[in-house]
Symmetry: C2
Subunit: 405 residues, 2 copies
């Protein structure tokens, strides 16, 4: 029998209990042993809830119980999660988590601790919710050099971008609606500013490079400036606008960025609608692949957490999770990355055409219905540094969206 302690009886924690209730037989069969939840750590009590009999209020009870093989950290945040995880690993207990903030901040150190104590630190649920992506990367795409990972890694913003694209709604309107429906939090900053997606692409970049990619080093731009007009131009170009978190690996260097991008409608990510997430992976032998599913939500996340519990139970005798070292990976400057830029400016095209040609070179002009009193164009492939110098000429006149290649 394998004993599990769950830290935190919030959304994900209660989801894990529900998955066990639903699929106990399958879980035991796949784990090759009986897997049972023995404790749930929470400050609160839950009278009347079937979980109440498992509730404990003191972490010491868990860490001191030698029968506990697997600790499931679904509290979120950095503390006390970090201390509990660290101590659990040091006590020779496997740890499974959905806490992307902790993995992004202390992943390499905790993986090292796990290795030293011959246990596993597994975090499939921290990226892409229910979508299997971390295990496929480390156990299925092992014959490929990964050239690119581009993800729609945040359901809130993808819901908003989808609504704005298909319904022509404005940003503020869509945000209010998403908040009313529970798709966006009352304080939506972590989502709409791209910080949530940034932590996730940092984790994937660390796995791919085998070195620590600090999320603070990844340039991150949210969706707050995207307008209904931008969506009209996108349609004219047979494109969509998505918040993408992307990394490219070339000649041993990695470049990463989180920002809204114009994306051709034939790209597999372009048909990922609503709260769904997807991760596009390009390998040098495999070519293009994509992993699609529910990127958040109680049951999908709990499914991924529980699958990691099964994996930890299966491989109690070996560390299968050694993914990246603590050596920091220096990222390629975004200023050196070449791409096309879509630009809108207020005023008459004729008044600016000469200055634009001088600053950006040859560009392609566009029009869209309902976008009067302005003009728009797409540059050729230029370095972002070149774009910034050229754009500086026009100050605040410019509204820019990057074009995905």
């Amino acid at each position: 029998m394998i004993h599990v302690a769950v830290l935190g009886y919030g959304t994900v924690g209660s989801g894990v209990l529900e998955v066990f209730r639903m699929n106990q037989e399958k879980i035991d069969r796949c784990a090759g042993d009986q897997v049972r939840i023995k404790y749930i750590l929470d400050l609160r009590d839950f009278p009347g809830d079937p979980a109440q009999e498992l509730i404990v209020h003191d972490f010491e009870q868990i860490i001191n119980d030698e029968s506990i093989d697997i600790v499931v950290e679904v509290m979120g945040g950095l503390e006390p999660a970090y201390t509990f995880v660290k101590r659990s690993l040091e006590a020779g207990k496997n740890v499974v988590t959905s806490n992307k903030a902790l993995v992004a901040a202390h992943g390499s150190e905790l993986l090292q601790t796990a290795k030293e104590h011959h246990v596993n630190y597994l975090f499939e649920a921290s990226v892409g919710g229910g979508i299997p992506i971390i295990r496929p990367l480390v156990s299925s795409l092992t014959a490929d050099e990964i050239e690119e990972i581009t993800g729609i890694l945040n359901g809130t913003t993808n819901y908003m971008m989808t609504k704005m694209f298909y319904e022509g709604a404005d940003y503020d309107e869509v945000l209010r609606e998403a908040q009313a429906n529970g798709y966006a939090e009352r304080n939506p900053e972590a989502d709409v500013e791209g910080r949530d997606a940034c932590r996730k692409i940092a984790i994937l970049s660390s796995i791919v490079s085998g070195r620590q990619v600090d999320f603070e080093d990844i340039y991150t731009e949210g969706i707050t400036k995207i307008t209904a007009q931008d969506m009209r131009y996108a349609k004219e170009m047979n494109m969509v606008i998505k918040l993408l978190a992307t990394m490219k690996q070339e000649d041993g260097t990695i470049g990463a960025i989180v920002a809204p991008f114009l994306l051709h409608s034939e790209h597999p990510l372009a048909s990922v609608h609503g709260v769904f997430n997807a991760i596009f992976v390009r390998g040098n032998a495999l070519g293009d692949s994509m992993f699609y599913g529910s990127g958040a939500g109680k049951m999908p996340t709990a499914s991924a957490v529980t699958a990691d519990i099964v994996e930890a139970a299966r491989y109690q005798d070996r560390t299968i999770c050694e993914y990246w070292s603590g050596n920091k990976m220096e990222l390629k400057s975004r200023m050196d990355v070449k791409r096309k830029f879509f630009i809108r400016m207020a005023g008459r095209k004729e008044a600016y055409a000469d200055r634009i040609r001088e600053a950006f070179g040859e560009v392609q002009y566009l029009t869209a219905d309902g976008c009067e009193g302005e003009f728009a164009f797409v540059t050729g492939e230029i370095k972002e540094g070149e774009y910034e110098s050229a754009a500086a000429e026009f100050g605040n006149l410019i509204h820019m969206i990057r074009v995905a290649s």
Copy 2:
């Protein structure tokens, strides 16, 4: 050092050598050891080819070489592949394969042999080419009861369906073009009649049920009767037509079928175009997910084969492949499966309306441009057995396509 023998220097075999040449460093790093190809078995010689020095003509040389840890069977067909695989497993060598015909026909027996000899029989490349699906199913989706797997599992037919849908071309025209481009074989029967997709869904059904699903038991219908007119009706309904290989699991029983289906355009599989494959998986906790990529082709298939070589190298000390038993799974009769049916008939609607209502109940009539002298309708949800009885009333007058739910 881990030594590999490759049986067959055809498309996939030469691809495996190319993947090793490209990504040797990554392969060794992931395997945790040096992995080297020592022999290639082929009847032919390849003078001038770098593979020539590895070529042997006699399988006995491989089976008798104790240094060979992993045998890669990429010959295809049932014999001598079966004998070589069986003998390799019995000799304590791991076997990796892309041979779906062999896995579908003798999978449970060979898995049993692998288990008895403490080695692995791995076949990720046999379904979905480069798309990781088998390992995700057995090591990532372990906390879910799988309710449905629906795949676009054949690139040739998906290329043809895509062309017919977007270009309005006829079946014969598209087949000729696909043959000219190398997307269809000169004898395309295994693809267009659905037999290739059938073997693949049989393998996935066996994994999900843990029991042997015989491909001969799966009702299989190809795309040869699909016309340009069908595509017009599909567009009218905001649907596409795809050759789907699908299994559903409910109350411990499994139903499976391969056939062209009308599919709503919002379904994630609907945007899978051209030669790409994708596998949609619904879990009872996870919800909907999809795995997308190159379902065939030299390098994607070789990538999956090589990843299995890495996995076999990693887990030399334990059998990780025990997926299904030899107990035969009896499939649910397709006659008991409920769905909607799209039906076209020559003639005037008015002449048949009464008989149609009597036979099929309430139906929804449709029109499409360029489809004169006929009419079409969609039934309500009825059992396939009910459909067949009703359709018998109209004999050869009826052209039917199933509607995916």
